[in-house]
Each structure stands twice: as C-alpha cells, then as structure tokens.
C-alpha cells in the first residue's frame, strides 16, 4: 500500500467533542464452505464475556465496491434462495458497543448512549476490532482449516449535528443551497473514488447528508455519514486493518473539508 493511502495519523485533526453518534468498523469475508449455523454459538463464546446480550436480525446482503464503467449501481438483487442464516448482534452490558456477526461479516459498532461508554477513539477501537478479528480467524483455522479470507473492509463515522433550523446548514457544512431557499429537507449523497499511487482505484469514500428530526419534531439536525469501503490489498486481517486505518484518516480529512471552521471550533478542533 502506498504512503498516501496508509495516511499519516499524526497529521489527522483531533476533536475534543466531535458530533459522533455512531462508528462502525467491519469486514466482509468468504463464507467457509463447511460453515453452518451450529458454529454461531462457538463464535458467540469468543465474545460472550464482553458482549453477553444476543439478538437476531436479518442478514446483510454481500456488498462489493467495484470500479470502472457505469456509476455505482443502486439495487437489491432478489435472486437465489432466501438466506438460511441470520445476523447476530452481541451487545455489551452498557449497550454502547456491539458486534455484528453473520457467515460473511464481522462488524464492531460503537453507539452514543446517555449512560454508555464514551467514544474510545479510533486507535483503541481499531486495536479492539483487530483483536476480535484475530479470535474469529483462529476459530476458523481450527474449525475449517482456513483462516478468514477478507474481500471487503469498511469504516463509517455517523455524526449528528443539531440545529434550530435547517436554514443554518451553511453554519455547519460548506456545501449549501442558495440562501433564498426555504429548506424543507436535505438528502445528499456523493462518492469519490480513492486511488493509490499507481492510479488504481482501491476504495470509495461516500458522504451522505440527511436532515433528521427528533421524536415530535422538536429538534432538527443533520446526519452526516462518511463511509470508506473497498477491498484491502490482501485478504489478511493485517491488510484489512491497514485499509481501515487509511480509511479513517481520509474520513477525518474529508470531514474537515466539508464542515465549516466555526463548526470545527465548536467541536474543539485541536
């Protein structure tokens, strides 16, 4: 991986109180041929001490970032038999962290909770996720004679920016509609292709902005989601973690590009 893609963590701005609502790091991998639902309990045992609560959810469909040709397709395919297995959430006691596991995914979420663990910062989150991945890798090696073969990695930062009125958009975000507009709602998505020094596409950074409201419509806010997804250069855990680290660097830099200086000051930019 080239130096720029690796990123320089020391060059990344830091915030005392960023408007973070949720952070997700994760990987997608090839399902081991002999995997079946009976192994799900063995997977939970890997994390049970830290994540004692289990809930079940519908499976996420496979997702691949591919490049060249037509713009990114937006679709859901309906072919194939219905998924045989579910996605499991292993949830921490304080509800702030959870692991999402299904036969081809492992994700770690941190969620903003009133009485939950404060955001532990990226470096710790990344170390923790690497440790969780290595546990799963070891289980796969012992049960399936093959470690995790990662085909996609991702990192997402989801921010909530409360505002009195959507007309304040320009105070927080650099891209705004003309001031004469009476804004009823905001929904914008833009993506950019990230290339390495050989000009080869390696990832896609997506920025989504939606206007949101609290229950009862008392509080307006913007939800600003930045996601970095793609295939790591190799299918190993280390390569995936490198990819996630570089993604986080790019997300923070892009966050600074699209938010105003006054907004960054209010979040305690260092």
């Amino acid at each position: 991986m080239d130096a720029d893609l690796m990123g320089n963590l020391s060059a990344v701005p830091d915030f005392d109180s960023p408007p973070l609502d949720e952070v997700v790091v994760g990987v997608q991998f090839a399902t081991p041929l002999s995997y079946s639902t009976v192994y799900a309990n063995a997977v939970w045992q890997l994390y049970r001490e830290e994540f004692p609560i289990v809930t079940e959810h519908p499976q996420l469909n496979p997702h691949f970032e591919v490049f060249g040709g037509n713009p990114e397709p937006r679709f859901e395919f309906g072919f194939g038999q219905p998924p045989l297995r579910n996605r499991l959430w292993f949830i921490s006691e304080d509800d702030s962290h959870l692991i999402q596991f299904q036969d081809d995914r492992l994700l770690l979420n941190w969620r903003n909770r009133a009485n939950g663990t404060p955001y532990p910062r990226h470096e710790k989150t990344q170390r923790t996720f690497a440790e969780y991945l290595k546990r799963l890798d070891a289980l796969f090696k012992s049960e399936f004679n093959q470690g995790i073969l990662i085909n996609q990695a991702e990192v997402s930062y989801i921010n909530i920016i409360p505002v009195q009125s959507l007309a304040e958009m320009g105070d927080w975000l650099r891209f705004t509609p003309p001031p004469a507009f009476e804004i009823e709602g905001v929904n914008s998505v833009f993506g950019e292709v990230v290339r390495n020094d050989m000009h080869k596409p390696v990832a896609r950074l997506t920025c989504e902005t939606h206007s949101v409201t609290s229950p009862g419509g008392k509080q307006n806010a913007f939800r600003l989601t930045l996601s970095y997804r793609g295939a790591p250069s190799q299918d190993s855990v280390d390569s995936a973690m490198e990819f996630i680290s570089s993604g986080r660097t790019r997300i923070v830099k892009r966050f600074c590009d699209i938010t105003t200086e006054s907004a960054q000051l209010s979040w305690g930019r260092n």
């Binding site: 949720e22 090839a30 691949f64 060249g68 397709p73 679709f75 194939g80 038999q81 959430w89 596409p201």
Partner: protein, 165 residues
C-alpha cells in the same frame, strides 16, 4: 439494509431515500426501506438465470458440482451493472462445478469469457477471430478495461475475409 445499529438514536430521517438505510428509534415506529431498481437490461433479463444457477442441486453436473455461490453471483451482477452498454445483448452465464461463474459473449468476431472465481478474483479472456489475438487479464475490482472490450463488441467490424479457392 444498513450496518448502522444505533437503535436509540433520537433522530429520524425526515425523508428516506437511501437504499440501505434502516432507521429505528426506540419507542418509535420501525421501518425498513428496500428499493429494487435494476440499472441495466442485462441484469433484468438475467435475473431468472442467476436464480437458476444459485439454486442448482448438488451434483448438477453428474459429479460433485455445487451451485454457483451467492457471492460469485452478486459480484458478477455488480460487474455486469458496471460494464453494461445499451444495445449489446446480455451475455450467457455458465456455471462452474466449483461454484464459480463464467460470463460469455461470442459475437462480432470476438469471444469474451469472464471467469468470476470469487469476490475480487476475476480472469477475463478475449479472442479476436479477425486478428487471432488472444488477451488474458487478471482483475480484482477495476473493470475499466472490460468496458472497452464491450464497446468493441458493439462496434461495426468488417466481416472475416474468406479464402477464395
């Protein structure tokens, strides 16, 4: 469907347009948005074939053949959406006995075969009957060169000269 899991987020979209989003506020109505919107005629026409290939019975080839893996099929569908050019007929889809998938065109004096061996693992071969030139490429997730191949597949070409007795 989303990877977001913040059920307790106090904020909800005023309008949902994203394909993958699931937003559920604690104590509030849960809703899910799944949009089916094919971009290309190819994938629309190939939906039944994808369905057939991912549902093949084990031993379908008379030996130990397994159905096309959902991962290969999804990746192939993503690839096809990327390289779709209006006016070119959809390719043939041929299953591999090991769960892989081959995408084929044989037209305009070209043979194009794209082997989807897995996610980010593609081998593409093109044989030009006019020049007897064969190209083989190993591809991961950048299919720009295949767009060129499909454009040339669609272009007007002089017929192959036949030998006169």
């Amino acid at each position: 469907m989303t990877i977001s899991a913040n059920l307790n987020s106090a904020f909800q979209n005023s309008k949902t347009t994203s394909v993958y989003n699931v937003h559920r506020g604690e104590g509030f109505r849960a809703y899910r948005t799944i949009v089916t919107a094919y971009n290309s005629v190819w994938c629309r026409n190939l939906e039944a074939r994808f369905n057939e290939l991912t549902s093949l019975p084990r031993g379908w080839d008379g030996y130990n053949g397994i159905p096309v893996s959902f991962t290969c099929a999804r990746f192939a569908a993503n690839l096809l959406e990327r390289i779709f050019i209006d006016g070119v007929s959809e390719p043939s889809l041929v299953p591999g006995c090991d769960g892989t998938l081959q995408i084929e065109w044989h037209k305009n004096l070209f043979d194009i075969e794209i082997d989807v061996l897995g996610a980010n693992n593609v081998i593409a071969m093109r044989f030009d009957h006019q020049t007897s030139r064969e190209e083989t490429l190993e591809l991961q997730n950048d299919f720009s060169v295949l767009v060129t191949w499909i454009e040339e597949l669609a272009s007007e070409r002089a017929p192959l000269a036949t030998a006169t007795p």
